[in-house]
Subunit: 602 residues, 2 copies
Amino acid sequence: MRLSQMLFNTLRDDPAEAEIPSHKLLVRAGYIRRIGSGLYAYLPLMWRVLQKVSQIVREEMNATGAQECLLPQLQPSDLWQESGRWDTYTKAEGIMFALQDRQKRELGLGPTHEEVITAIARDMIRSYRQLPVHLYQIQTKFRDEIRPRFGLMRGREFIMKDGYSFHTDRESLQQTYQDMDRAYRNMLRRCGLKFQPVQADSGAIGGGVSQEFMVLAEAGEDEVLYTEDSQYAANVEKAVSLPADAQPSPFTEYKKVETPNTNTIATLCEALGCDATNTVKNVLYQTVYDSGMTVLVLVSIRGDQEVNEVKLTNELTALAPEYGAKAVLAIAVPDPEAQSKWAAKPLPLGYIDPGLGDEYISQQENLAPKFLRLVDRTAVDLQNFATGANETGYHVMGANWGEQFVLPDRIVDVRTAKAGDRAVHDPTQILQTARGIEVGHIFQLGTKYSEAMNATFTSEQGEELPCFMGCYGVGVSRLAQAAVEQSYDKNGIIWPVAIAPYTVIICVPNITDSQQMDVAEKLYQDLQQAGIEVLLDDRKERAGVKFKDADLIGIPYRLVTGRAIKSGKVECVERKTLASEEVAIDDVVSVLQDRIQTALKA
Amino acid sequence: MRLSQMLFNTLRDDPAEAEIPSHKLLVRAGYIRRIGSGLYAYLPLMWRVLQKVSQIVREEMNATGAQECLLPQLQPSDLWQESGRWDTYTKAEGIMFALQDRQKRELGLGPTHEEVITAIARDMIRSYRQLPVHLYQIQTKFRDEIRPRFGLMRGREFIMKDGYSFHTDRESLQQTYQDMDRAYRNMLRRCGLKFQPVQADSGAIGGGVSQEFMVLAEAGEDEVLYTEDSQYAANVEKAVSLPADAQPSPFTEYKKVETPNTNTIATLCEALGCDATNTVKNVLYQTVYDSGMTVLVLVSIRGDQEVNEVKLTNELTALAPEYGAKAVLAIAVPDPEAQSKWAAKPLPLGYIDPGLGDEYISQQENLAPKFLRLVDRTAVDLQNFATGANETGYHVMGANWGEQFVLPDRIVDVRTAKAGDRAVHDPTQILQTARGIEVGHIFQLGTKYSEAMNATFTSEQGEELPCFMGCYGVGVSRLAQAAVEQSYDKNGIIWPVAIAPYTVIICVPNITDSQQMDVAEKLYQDLQQAGIEVLLDDRKERAGVKFKDADLIGIPYRLVTGRAIKSGKVECVERKTLASEEVAIDDVVSVLQDRIQTALKA
């Protein structure tokens, strides 16, 4: 491609909308343009990157025997009613765009396709002989994000590969799940990315077992905890660990004490002269299930620990499946308006005790069960602990379960694992932390959708059984931006060779110099002939502008037809290292072929 | 691909939803599945066809220097407000799905992308040196069709290639328009289709000059008129012709006569003993502009002619551009409810005269101008004609313009050209008719969008001028189905070689016969090695089922590893002709390579 014929502009300044380097660079380098909140046009350079990523994804998927298809983006609401996700997706979480057609029938714009594919499987799969089968598509998906940001990272439209497999049993599902794990690692390796597979929470997709693939980068929205022995890695939402041991309690007898201005654990410890591990904090949550049911939840946890709200949400969902597929959680107390709806009298905020009584909760029809008490494992074995006295400005110390307080009978793990904790699989391993960008997520769904939607097959024994399902997603457009987030310098983007829009750019310092243009044209033809994708910067611009732009857009190799052509050479600059050397014009193709091969194998 | 591993079912019976052969066949042969009204899943076989069509389109587009990109499907309403099309598309015609996001901002689901691309051009194009430039995308589009039907022909989701070019002047636009004409002919030829380019109405896209590409097929929704000398072809919506000459009038004097039960031209002619060319009929329309303005229109036309409502709509839009971009037309009189809103007294329906007076129209605020009289050219030169007497059961005969009736001062061409008419370019040529499926449409838009949205460039002389624009669409999914509509027999689909999902299918009559399987596996490997796409029917099914399915799905060449393998041969059946011959196993690859080459060149 000749740059003079391409719709191409670079910007000197960072766009106001952009917060992270990759977003700034993709806009500045002319890869994307914002059309609306979370909506981007992929310009020709970006389109080439996306096609390269897609092709790698496609090859790895096809190699496993998965078949490509394309499903509708508009999805009739009745399919989502069958799976029970319509309300969760369009109302409780509201991440699915919903609309009405001219007949006033409701449709959703697909953020994911479990319902559609399960309807097809129900229609087409009859016998165990048709299984296993795996369909995938590469398609634009939609999410009505609360806060679209970071360019393609969290857009309202984004390109996904989503695949769905169907099986006779769990063993077959696990086999495909493992194949996908391998395929995903291959994809990411081939794209030239540093990544980490991690155990993950399954969220609204469901199914229990799932694994995310994180591209490691400072700007990642996710926190990953891992051990140096490579035996454990998990999203912080899902991670487990051994907390530090509690310190021996300094309290020898039970006593209620006045502790003014101690509504945090830190101020309390200072006032009482104890360690945070000697305290129990009691956090009150208000949760609304997608049935509309509201439940108040009191969580007692050791004072040095934090509640992991993803884990807590999962516990609450599991506790009351009859209330709907998903509980939406909010801390209750900082919201005076919500509180006023259910509190019978003012709560002693900051000083609540583990036995906060029903007398604080008013009778209300949509509160049932109106009150739920949970205790995290970290608080169960504590002795002689300090905790709230249920009276503002007062705590108790030297308290014990079974004496002053009844141990709640629901013991749960809802604590947030954190860097520095000991690993469960080997307590000598200490959890490390890293930031990651989730670019892939694979799930063992089990029979969640096939049971709800009646997608069954006839087994060899003649029984009608629900299919086991897996689903597997890659964020194609997010992955492309994640590659930039992982690889740039002050001059611009540094694309991995495998997914660069072009592999080589020829900069002609002076297009009015016919000798320069002749050499450039010859190289342009020769490289294309050799199957190397090349961009020819034949614009009427100064050499400095061309070099700057070449660095900004991040093409792996830059050839310059400058002074050296007098001695039959061109300058060849590697974008990544900025190392420059002169190469004989006749050797350019073979030299670049070697380097590209080496880079792709790395 | 092994058919045993593919999600694949054929159906014995035609699906209830399907009306035309191609729709029935694509469902029965397992290419598509209906998910909702006008919404289809493209299953793996269909996806391969779509990819092949897309690749041909892409190659022809790239060869012209156009660049591929991808634009958002969700489009902010404010862009469509700028172009003035929001109301037309979401309300008057209602073909654009509209929705609100969680912030209650309005968005449309793109049926086309003039607004988005013009916004990008406005942002990126500064100078004449950047022009011409041409961007295109291959993408799913959305239309909230009043009556989705015919499978992929008129779906609510469909795959389009849409391209948009920007130019300094009309000459440059015309150059690209001609390049696109050539590229489109190449595409359709390469896809193996019989087609006809025709002059077309530009509809809601606008711009005036446009051309459609019709795939000729009985089930086509469009009528094409053409001449045998290949000098003229047009969509009937747009076609012009010379009508038959009027017969000499049998009426010698003006007279009002009682003509009971003659509210059609046929009954009138019989009653009066005259030819339809001796009569003037007066048709009353009610039109609502997208501004909300209602206008009543009386069209006087020679009795043997029909009003072309597309032409009439264009005339009305041109007459009153201040009322909005598009008039929506309806015949007024068959709608008693609408009539009751504006008729001051009962209309003498079937007997209206060309001078229908204002006294019939009530004063109403949204009727302005309340009444418009048009006369078609065919009625202008008539003498001594018969027409309505404006009294039920009465006509006048021997009437003349300028005597009994004032000739309306708006003389227009709103007649429907029809087969049998003489051609304008050569009256010895007679218009022929054919049915067609519109698969492509190219437009010279001019400055319609660039002026409305202020997409300008600085000329070489330093002037700021609006860009000239063209746009060019191909219905990729519609084209794929049109290929079937043009090529099938009673056994099933007959795909053109270039776009068949696979080129060869190997049917193994008995998979438990190891010799048959060995030959089949060897051929399967050899053909793949030679780059020929091959499907291996290794299902546990009877030979008859496999042959039937192979014919139904329409793979161009079928190899059968039957009895002939004893003598080192396989049966090779050409799907199109059903001609069968035995080919030595070692020659299969080269024989097929030859045939495929020949077929692709044809």
